[in-house]
Symmetry: C3
Subunit: 139 residues, 3 copies
């Protein structure tokens, strides 16, 4: 059994911009030479999220009103009083969606579906270079 | 340390039907003969989800209006323009709930509570045979 | 490769009270003496949740209206008919947020951000002593 870790950085616009990192995750798994195990994808920081989606332009737009339903942009947040900040909605969205994803691989290949991609979402109210930790455990 | 993987298929109706797969997951863990470790439960495809719930008929109904709050059925989705599809709400619900769950086991037993079951939810707008990957890592 | 498991108990008030358990999780990872791997944090029971947040008093308040959007307190739940219970909203909130979190560690340190803490949330409608399982897999 082996464990290997890699950090990547992804540039994303504010308020729900996302990137498909499936290719990067698969390349990392392949580079380890391992056949079977899991890869953990973890978003460092409290205004990002990790999930899966069919990565196509329509759903990239559809996520925006869904984020507004989880934590609207037009309401007051107590968080703003703590730091005189404006990203309360981004923090709450991150907590509800989640910052960690575990994907198994078999025969060196991630088991995600053909129309299912691993995404990082930036939920902050400004552009961010999101830091993502990838860690493989397997044999 | 050992890793073992199994695929299962679960027939589910449209728009929030769910199944309790705790028994199947426990049987797989038991069959490996391992004592301590994790099992990853991953839903292949972009309109399913994995979570835990007290699996009883009332909550199976209560999940439906909650899914409507996350992504209503009566609104337009940009996704429908991409594929002339009708399941935009299912994709968004899957992304928000999540497609992966990791459960520890100790003494060969999953640590879930007595009233807590592992579920797969079909969020597509049609009947689906959902593919689930179970993978055990432990010793 | 080694696996080690620990159970902790956290006292929390009703309806969205949370605790920062990052310190406890880090101490457990440190005590194993392992350098690189994952820790799984799992909430036993069907009315708790695990996630990450910037743990500060403002966001602790902001989570409450977000939980109300996911599953309001002023509506009927079928769950209440099953057990003559009153915590349907808590079950649905738990299913949507999730009960499991996996965090990598490197050099013996969790990779969470400076302003990102691991939290357990009690979503039941009464005070609960929540049981959390921590399990380290690494080398």
């Amino acid at each position: 059994m082996t464990v290997e870790t890699k950090r990547i950085f992804v540039d994303l616009a504010a308020d729900g911009d996302m990137a498909d990192i499936s290719g990067i995750v698969q390349e990392f798994v392949s580079a380890t030479g391992l056949s079977e195990g899991i890869v953990t994808v973890f978003s460092v920081g409290s205004t990002g999220a990790i999930s899966t989606i069919e990565y196509e332009p329509g759903l990239k737009k559809d996520i925006i009103p869904a984020l507004e339903r989880l934590a609207p942009s037009g309401i007051d947040y107590e968080h703003h009083k703590t730091w005189h900040d404006d990203n309360g909605r981004g923090h709450i969205r991150s907590t509800l969606i989640g910052t960690s994803l575990v994907v198994p691989f078999v025969g060196g290949k991630l088991v995600i579906g053909t129309w299912q991609q691993i995404i990082v979402i930036n939920l902050d109210t400004s552009h961010r270079q999101r830091e993502i930790v990838l860690q493989v455990l397997g044999e």
